[in-house]
Symmetry: C2
Subunit: 339 residues, 2 copies
DNA sequence: ACTTGGCACTCACGGCGGCCGAGTGCCAGG
DNA sequence: CCTGGCACTCGGCCGCCGTGAGTGCCAAGT
């Protein structure tokens, strides 16, 4: 009972602060939320909450604001996931259904997510690792140079220019194409790597060097970049937050330009089936210590294709943002699964 | 002589202001730059320059800062193009030479340009319009759905998923592939559109509907997106500028997220063979009225592949930035031309 | 054992006034 | 046409003070 009201007070503080961005005091709190107790009581509760480290005061004699720990408790125990409005659902659908190809799906998703949440959105391109090889095409650019095009069943297309030490004619190219497709088509990417490594051993000696070169490149394309790229949108939303935020704005922008950082942020959320929230320092990125990251994986069932999420100030509408991330991920997963 | 010194004063003002970001006064000006005249004389010149609209004072009794018109005169008549240091040239080379494919070239270029200039960099993906069709590949995803892959001699790969109303078997797909490649391969994109439009008329009736569908998609892919995409980097550099800039930061970021705006900015510079500078309102984008855009086309000789450039504050090192843009464009042009 | 009203205290914030100094315009003399 | 001198302007800075929101503590009430 005592404990219960304290939590209620914490929730009220978080909700108020998210809306107003101003330290919230005992009086306004007791008024706005029907707590049924006097400001003095609220003060006692706040005092206790502060001692436990859930809230803090920016300076003596000002209201309280939640700490990282306070937000964490709020997210874990005090907030549900706000359902999206009908209009928002419709927006998701109409925004995504015009996509012409895989890249377009990703670019539209990231813009959509940025608009819905009014935060910075990040969407990882679907990774190759859980897809299979659909087709390998080799195009002769000139006798010493080939273009290798790799198509997966998720609709992803990878391309590589390959320099060949000794010239090849079209017949040989045809043979190579046949060999690669014959042994790799239909394989899942993880399996393909093993098969490809052994392939050169089994063929006519004169094809071997070329095939070795090609399989090396294929493997590179499959492994090295398999989950490398991300799309970003909504950086302008960073300026929406309060001004004190502006000091760190530069560092946040710099961090967001690092693909590695972004991958780390959403990559770890990929595997869990649910929406994960990392608050403040939990992001493990120093420049983002005053932000929160809400991320999830997308893709149907066990076949996770990639991750997506948003980056925003700690002072954020967690229920609403979590709902938006979940909804977009679900929809994109279905969209890609249908292909 | 009189005229000449006035211009010298303008140049000194621009250079000083670019370095210090503070209104520059007559005294410091006469000291720092060896003008050989007294502050009072400089004052008279400044007064004249102000009357002609080249400089202005932010408030009474403060130094002068250049106006749009002043920067324009500076760029047109007073500044050369600062040659790059040897280290910078080497940096360009080593940064770009590891690129694995076309997308990689673009992404590396844009980062490179952002680093060199410490501004926001924009690079347009090479457009299809001046390239020719290298190969068209059709892959069966399922009987009602094909994946069309279009490869150009610039190494660009476009992909499209095509829904087919009535199922097709592999034999038909092979025929279609042959027809498309037979008639389009080697054509320049602009010519290909005409040929493709007539193609269905000339074939067996049973292939016609499918071929119509496919050519429609090919044409779409060729025309609609031919110069659509751009890469962006270095937005964190926007925060480098003075704080008054911060007010408009949000609008600048928003403008930079609009592909259309970016294309407009660098698109118009594509065709001219030189580096073009647009200052302040000359950008024709309201949100960018306090910025300048330095852009150029890249690609060898008459075959312009795309545009690239940087966006930065009006208060910018024009000679240095122009040199960097020109150098990167030249190098990228050569790199792509070699393919 | 909680809750509540009262009360003294703290401190960020905003407005006010005065000083300072960089910078200007003008003018008379070289 | 240049120059030194001079009076003037005005934004920025600093210190001061009043105000008010908010707090912590305490004693009384339930």
């Amino acid at each position: 009972m005592l404990e219960e009201r304290r939590l209620e007070v914490l929730r009220a503080i978080v909700e108020d602060f998210v809306l107003s961005n101003e330290p919230v005091g005992s009086k306004t709190l007791a008024e706005r939320h029907a707590l049924g107790v006097s400001p003095a009581t609220v003060r006692n509760d706040m005092s206790a909450l502060e001692e436990e480290g859930y809230i803090t005061q920016p300076h003596t004699s000002a209201g309280r604001i939640p700490t990282d720990k306070g937000y964490r408790l709020f997210v874990d125990r005090l907030s549900g996931v706000k359902p999206l409005s009908r209009a928002e659902r419709r927006a998701i659908q109409s925004f995504l259904e015009g996509a012409v190809d895989l890249d377009d799906v990703v670019r539209r998703s990231v813009r959509l997510l940025a608009q819905l949440t009014r935060q910075v959105a990040v969407v990882q391109y679907p990774s190759l690792s859980s897809s299979s090889v659909r087709h390998i095409e080799i195009v002769t650019l000139n006798p010493n140079r080939l273009l290798l095009v790799l198509i997966t069943d998720t609709g992803r297309v990878e391309q590589r220019v390959v320099d060949i030490p000794t010239p090849v004619d079209d017949g040989v190219v045809g043979e190579l194409r046949g060999l690669l497709n014959g042994s790799l088509r239909g394989r899942r990417v993880v399996d393909a790597t093993e098969v490809a490594a052994d392939l050169p051993e089994t063929v006519r000696p004169d094809l071997r060097p070329h095939l070795t070169t090609l399989t090396t490149v294929v493997l590179e394309a499959l492994l090295e970049r398999q989950e490398e790229r991300v799309a970003l949108a909504g950086t302008a939303n960073l300026t929406r937050s309060s001004v004190d935020f502006a000091d760190s704005l530069r560092f946040i922008l710099e961090a967001l330009e690092e693909q590695v950082v972004l991958l780390k942020l959403i990559g770890s959320a990929r595997e869990t089936g649910t929406v994960t929230v990392r608050i403040g320092r939990e992001t493990d990125v120093d420049a983002l210590r005053s932000t929160s990251v809400i991320a999830t994986g997308y893709g149907l069932g066990p076949a996770v294709l990639g991750g997506m999420g948003v980056v925003g100030p700690m002072r954020m509408d967690y229920p609403g943002t979590m709902a938006a991330v979940r909804a977009v991920a679900k929809y994109v997963g279905e969209l890609l699964g249908a292909d």
